[in-house]
Amino acid sequence: MMDRRTFLKLAAALCASFGVNGMPGPVAAALKKIDPAAVPKLIYLQGLSCTGCSISLLQADSPSPLSMITDYSQLAFHADLSAVSGKKALGLIDRYIAGEAGEYFLAVEGAIPELMPEACIIGHKPFGQYLEEAAKTMTGAVAIGACACDGGIPAAEGNLTGAVGLREFYGKRGINKLVVNIRGCSVHPDWVWHTIIHLVKIGVPELINDAPALFFKRKVHELCPRYHDFQQEIFAEKLGDQGCLFKLGCLGPDTFADCPTRWWNSGQTWCVDSNAPCIGCASPGFARKKNFPFYRLAERDK
């Protein structure tokens, strides 16, 4: 675990890499009062993605999604919500990326097809090119979801596009900008919005493996309300059973996320509460290997 001193040193180093002192200008202003001119802008771009993370962001409760994109930040562009399209939309994106429209954070959902740039095009230009150009002007980036962080399912074994996450994509190009990783397939809306609030109000949150410690510090298994069942060896034997789901393949012991205490969909439920084994969707290696199935049912005769 990172102590406060180490964190402050890291935070200072990260802030220095912004090219500003302490925190971005608009952030400092936003701390005092929500001023529309000063609220941080988000340019939200999608690569090899399913839009599931965007849809999850719309499931946020407090603050509401609308409050998040008007009070705490401004969603300057998002393909799902922007009124404008076509050339006018490209013009908006291009002006931000050229550094002509003020400071902004880049929000990225989806993986980058490293070996097949044609596999993701926005307005005649490969997705990766936007990311490279934005690296020169953005304050920092938030990688939203499994695909943007580590490649996700598009990067699973046998894939044809050479999909990678944002940090790896930047790393290969010697780009060393702040990238905050929010894992999950999809992300929980709180993980993203509360990170953005932290960026807006205070600065970079404590990170572990580039991910906010607040949400990803402990394992699902440690926090699981069925941990007692595990200790008492009360195991579900088949799908639909109650009890600890470990023998069915539950990946809670390998997955860092706070689902067991946070729950999903406004606290309605979460996977294990509905007797569904954790499939490790917040792990960097989620769904990566063909010979590592999600579930272990009865031993088969082979």
Partner: protein
């Protein structure tokens, strides 16, 4: 002149539409799906039970539809007897997902095609939400920033609604819909485990228990959603239709209609569904035969053979292929172009006379607007059909949830065979969805998905027939040659999803 309308926004994913304009009219259109991941290849060699998880990630807007189609395909392959509770839970999850998707589509994705957001500046009432929006827009416009009012401004040039009361009311409902869609998703998550990307859906049922407290919560969320459908959604669609009546004539696709039918009423594989399946061509409905579906790739970026049947499908990407302009394949039914989606579901069922509510709603609205059922093949028709779907589904879900046997079994016992194949079909909110699985040595040997927007946004086939959406755009008059809001309205009426169409 040729104009790229892409990136088309307020849809899912990466779509460009290239239109050719002569004398202010679209004379040609090409739909270009611009994002490829290769799911079928990723699935090969994996454990078959991974499929309903992996395929949900094709689309985070309608993941439950993929989970259901994959579960049906696996149930078919494994020969599973699904307990009644399991089948009912599948329906409860999928139906709730439809309701959220219709509301999201009309308010968040389509409303800004018609509604004048700047009307909020004239608001003088006391509603807290609207006052807040007004103050926000005022502050934005007064700021010196580059793009005030984003993401709601800038926008395309167009003939927006002139009635301020309607505009302001629609904005209020835009905000309310954002809250209501969450409730429909909470309902689905009760049995699905979470939304998006359910973990509790399996072939054979659901892992969630059949508990009375869960049923009661579910019914409460669906009732609230139903109330919004009747008090807001339908009146808003009627208002748009009254103010833009020309859109009953704009955006007709030029092929047939295909629906696989939605929400099975019994565990039998070919038993009846709430909305009946069929292929509608020339006013006649025939049963669906999967053997007649083929996929052409003459204009799609693949070097694998063209015209293959589902079980023979193949996928070799060729990004630089000459003459290819999209990653979307061109599925055809018996060689014919098909539109799928809400209008297909309603028209097929209406012509079969299956669901009495469908018949009566279509007849009522046809009389109200002075149209015939044929006019449902239009921009307004697709919007109205979504609302009809929503009414029928919401009522069904409340009845269906009463049929759960509390405490009863919700899952079949799964035994994956060494060798098997199976088909699963359902209706995603965007239309006909088919999954095919073939298993060899306990692993997935082949998997194929033919997805709604694969049909609707398909390119020309090898005979040169344009896809449904391409054909719907041709003939449309446009006022602003660059922005072409008329074309954008047609595209939005199909609710295209490119993550689905290419996958």
């Amino acid at each position: 002149m040729k104009v790229d309308l892409g990136p088309v926004t307020r849809i899912e994913g990466h779509l460009n539409v290239k239109t050719t304009i002569e004398n202010d009219q679209i004379v040609d259109a090409q739909c270009m799906g611009e994002m490829f991941r290769g799911f079928e290849v990723i699935l090969r060699g994996r454990d078959p039970l991974d499929a309903q998880q992996i395929t949900q990630r094709i689309c985070g807007v309608c993941p439950y539809a993929h989970a259901i189609a994959s579960s049906y395909a696996q149930e078919n392959a494994y020969g599973l007897q699904v307990p009644a509770n399991g089948r009912i839970m599948h329906n409860l999850i999928q139906g709730a997902n439809h309701l959220y998707d219709y509301l999201l589509h009309f308010y968040q994705l389509s409303a800004l095609d018609f509604v004048d957001v700047t009307a909020i500046l004239k608001y003088t009432g006391k509603d807290a939400d609207l006052r807040k929006i007004k103050e926000w827009v005022q502050a934005e416009l007064a700021s010196q920033k580059a793009f005030p009012g984003a993401p709601f401004l800038p926008r395309l040039n167009g003939d927006y609604l002139m009635d301020d009361e309607l505009n302001i009311g629609a904005l209020k409902h835009y905000v309310e819909a954002m809250e209501v869609q969450k409730k429909a998703n909470r309902a689905a998550a009760i049995f699905g485990g979470k939304f998006p990307h359910s973990t509790a859906i399996f072939p054979g049922g659901c892992t969630q228990a059949a508990r009375m407290d869960l049923i009661a919560s579910y019914q409460s969320f669906i009732s609230e959603t139903k109330e919004f459908i009747h008090s807001r959604y339908i009146p808003d669609i009627v208002a748009v239709a009254e103010n833009f009546p020309e859109y009953w004539q704009i955006g007709a696709s030029k092929g047939g209609f295909l629906s696989y039918g939605l929400l099975p009423l019994s565990a039998e594989r070919n038993g009846s569904r709430v909305l009946a399946p069929g292929v509608l061509q020339g006013g006649k409905v025939k049963p669906v035969d999967f053997g007649l579906i083929t996929q052409d790739v003459g204009h799609a970026k693949y070097s694998s053979p063209s015209g293959l049947k589902i079980a023979e499908s193949s996928l070799t990407p060729d990004p630089g292929k000459k003459g290819a302009y999209t990653w979307t394949k061109a599925p055809r039914y018996d060689g014919r172009v098909m539109e799928v989606g809400p209008a297909a579901r309603i028209l097929v069922d209406y012509h079969l006379g299956g669901n009495k509510t469908v018949k009566s709603l279509v007849d009522t609205y046809a009389a109200m607007f002075g149209i015939t059922a044929d006019n449902l093949n239009s921009v307004l028709g697709r919007h109205l059909c979504r609302a009809v779907n929503a009414v029928v589904i919401a009522d069904f879900l409340l009845e269906e949830s009463e049929r759960i046997d509390p405490g009863g079994k919700t899952m079949a016992d799964i035994v994956v065979p060494a060798t098997a194949e199976g088909y699963g079909v359902t209706e995603a909110s965007r239309g006909a969805l088919l999954h095919y699985i073939r298993i060899a040595d306990y692993k997935i040997a082949a998997y194929e998905c033919v997805v709604p927007t694969t049909w609707n946004a398909s390119p020309r086939d090898d005979k040169g027939q344009p896809g449904a959406m391409e054909s719907a755009l041709v003939g449309t008059k446009v006022a602003d040659l660059q922005d072409q809001i008329e074309a954008v309205r047609i595209i939005h009426s199909f609710d295209p999803c490119i993550a689905c169409s290419v996958h």
